[in-house]
């Protein structure tokens, strides 16, 4: 409470940081009006670092020093790699940066106590989907870069849209996340912070802490209790997609056979 009062949402700092982030992205994007000079990219990178520092300062404090530090590191990794994903010119590097961004997001989720979501992010995105991407990219482009990888469509408009979105989201979420109303306060979390166990690890030591045990059981009860219908609908949707893709593949083969029969000379 006292920390949140000591750092009121500084609107000016936030606006400046968002503007710097937008300018830095625009300077570093391939295919902007400046023609990809190396020095311009360095200026962009410096602006980006300044923007990150501004965003980190204008945010709210998390609590303990250890938790705060780990959070800043993993979220910094996530943001920097996400930016690098869109500014890098080689698709393979973009995919690797994206993997690093996912690792950062998973780290943020782990720090915030959402263990299942964090690990599932790695399993699903980094472990399965992105490996498929890499597989295809490496197969498809054995020889150098394609021309369409060296430009980006509408760099100015997209950075502006991104900056507006970032500013609006930060402001609105910052307003939302004041002191939670009395109904929704989580007692153990505030108690843990007030009690001085501020390091990330001691929460692990306390088996009575609901933040430390049976995440998965609670998540499962929530998913298969209140959200049963949504889970079932998603499952059916996935099944339909699976059946559809198999049907498309097998029909494609039979069409090819037919066309081959038609084309081949008698």
């Amino acid at each position: 409470m006292s920390l949140a009062a000591a750092f009121p949402p500084p609107g000016l700092l936030l606006a400046g940081a968002v503007a710097a982030a937008a300018a830095s992205l625009w300077l570093m994007l391939p295919g902007n009006a400046l023609g990809g000079d190396r020095r311009v990219r360095w200026i962009g990178a410096a602006l980006g670092i300044a923007a990150l520092a501004g965003l980190a300062l204008s945010g709210r404090r998390l609590g303990g020093l250890g938790e705060e530090g780990v959070f800043l590191v993993v979220s910094g990794v996530a943001v920097v790699s996400a930016a690098a994903t869109i500014v890098s010119r080689s698709p393979v590097y973009a995919a690797i940066w994206f993997a690093l961004a996912l690792a950062g997001v998973a780290g943020v989720l782990l720090v915030l106590g959402a263990q299942f979501l964090g690990v599932a992010t790695i399993v699903v995105y980094a472990g399965a989907i992105l490996v498929m991407f890499l597989f295809v990219l490496m197969l498809a482009q054995p020889a150098g870069l394609a021309p369409y990888d060296r430009v980006s469509n509408e760099p100015l408009l997209s950075t502006l849209a991104g900056a507006v979105l970032l500013g609006l989201l930060t402001v609105s979420i910052g307003r939302l996340s004041g002191e939670p109303p009395a109904c929704c306060q989580v007692p153990s979390r505030t108690a843990a912070v007030a009690g001085g166990t501020t390091d990330a690890a001691p929460a692990a030591a306390d088996p009575g802490d609901p933040f430390a045990t049976d995440h998965v059981a609670r998540l499962g009860a929530e998913l298969f209790g209140r959200h049963l219908l949504a889970v079932e609908a998603a499952g059916v949707l996935l099944l339909v997609a699976l059946v559809g893709s198999i049907a498309m593949v097998s029909r494609g083969a039979s069409v090819e056979d037919a066309s081959a029969d038609g084309r081949a000379p008698a």
Binding site: G127, P142, P202, E256
Partner: protein, 435 residues
């Protein structure tokens, strides 16, 4: 005030990490020696038995060999070819080793220590780096899927055909076998009701029934899939020496090659840990270790010893298999994954789910011990039926007859396929068909 000082739990975690990393590295070095002894034993020769204490004539059965090997490979020239992508070439071995070491954060390497009485530490101290991680099994699964990146990037960044082929083969193989691996894990998780590996051991110790006995089908599926995930023979296509020189690490030398080799070895050690923890009861042995969480120092050591002995046994099995089976062909490998292991894994999952669902009714109808036997016998029935079905249907059988001896219609059809598959060579293909 004391926020700057690390908490006792942090110090305990660091100590465990140090012990684990040091122990694993030493174990990997000596397991290489064991593997060479095993190779020598199978091939009826002596194997490494000379290197002992340097500058003396003491041989010590060759126990100095790992040290000499390590020194040699570290002191070798770390040569980076001109044609590689330098950043990814350097990053690949680091990624694979970091991922395979980080897996052990969630793997218990013993039971619990008796209470030490240090304030801030949990009371029996668990042999586990991250005891609060509620998703241990998923953590292991996630990080073993990250290991693919090292192989894929190493193969691609080498800019070498053999390396690239090895990387592609490896990623296809690892992605394919992750599915049976996950199905095998799911059966155990379903029966144990927890994603924590130490809890899974505790449940096997409490019931006295290891999951290998309760879920034989899942055990076999998991065993085969973990051989494939560790890329051990008969699944070592990513680095098949006779075809690909060295596979994805063809262009690597010196310490970077060492990192790759250690990571590969650690994959095998991880697989052995998982097999023992999930299916062979972990530190539990009937009549030797109890199931209680209150242990003496001797009890803790005995449990550690039992776990280590089981793991060594599984690793020896891995090594024996290496010299017993030839390598699969790639289509056989894929058929085995998708047409045999995937259905068998699903059958196992359904069986386990059914048994667990109706266990209360079984206990109510038959009484505790009879119900326990029935709950074990049903999966065994399914196991034999499943293997008979897999053997009779033989979906992994392939037509090995040379194309020339098939009927003329077959070969014409095959040429037509060529025409369709190869639009650029369309003209050539058509003339071929006309001829």
């Amino acid at each position: 005030m004391n926020a700057l000082l690390p908490a006792p739990a942090t110090i305990a975690a660091l100590v465990k990490i140090g012990l684990l990393v040091g122990g694993l590295m030493t174990a990997a070095a000596y397991l290489v020696l064991v593997e060479r002894w095993m190779a020598a034993w199978v091939q009826d020769r002596k194997g490494p038995n000379r290197v002992g204490i340097p500058l003396t004539k003491i041989r010590l059965f060759g126990l100095g060999q790992p040290l000499a090997d390590g020194l040699k490979i570290i002191l070798k020239e770390d040569f980076t070819p001109k044609h590689v992508d330098k950043v990814l070439y350097t990053a690949a071995p680091l990624v694979i080793l970091a991922a395979s070491l980080a897996i052990f954060a969630a793997i218990p390497f013993g039971s619990v220590l008796p209470p030490l009485g240090i304030p801030g530490l949990p009371d029996p101290v668990p042999f586990l780096v991250a005891p609060a991680l509620d998703v241990g099994v998923l953590w292991v699964f996630a990080l073993s899927s990250i290991a693919v990146y090292g192989v894929l990037l190493g193969g691609w960044a080498s800019n070498n055909k053999y390396g690239f082929l090895g990387g592609l083969r490896s990623s296809a193989q690892l992605v394919a076998y992750e599915i049976p691996l996950g199905l095998g894990l799911l059966g155990v998780v379903l029966a144990a009701g927890s994603l924590k590996l130490d809890r899974i051991i505790n449940i096997q110790a409490e019931t006295g029934t290891w999951f290998a006995f309760a879920q034989p089908l899942g055990f076999i599926v998991f065993l085969v899939a973990s051989f494939a995930e560790a890329a051990r023979l008969p699944f070592d296509l990513p680095e098949a020496e006779q075809e690909l020189v060295g596979g994805y690490h063809t262009e690597y030398s010196g310490i970077k090659l060492l990192l790759f080799l250690v990571a590969e070895f650690l994959h095998m050690v991880t697989a052995a840990f998982l097999i023992v923890i999930m299916f062979l009861g972990g530190w539990h042995l009937w009549g030797v270790t109890g199931s209680s969480q209150e242990v003496t120092w001797i009890g803790a050591l005995v449990r550690f010893g039992v776990l280590s002995a089981k793991i060594l046994g599984v690793i020896l099995f891995f090594m024996l298999v290496r010299w017993s089976w030839p390598r699969f062909r790639f289509d056989q490998l894929m058929n085995l994954a998708w047409k045999v292991m995937l259905p068998l894994g699903l059958v196992n999952l359904v069986t386990v789910a059914a048994v667990e669902e109706f266990r209360p009714q079984l206990v109510a109808a038959l009484g505790g011990s009879t119900a326990g036997w029935v709950a074990v016998l049903i999966p065994w029935g399914v196991f034999f039926l499943g293997w008979i079905a897999a053997g009779l249907l033989t979906p992994s059988g392939t037509d090995n007859t040379p194309i020339l001896t098939r009927g003329p219609l077959d070969s014409e059809h095959e040429l037509r396929d060529l025409v369709v598959a190869d639009p650029i060579g369309d003209r050539g293909g058509r003339t071929l068909v006309e001829a």
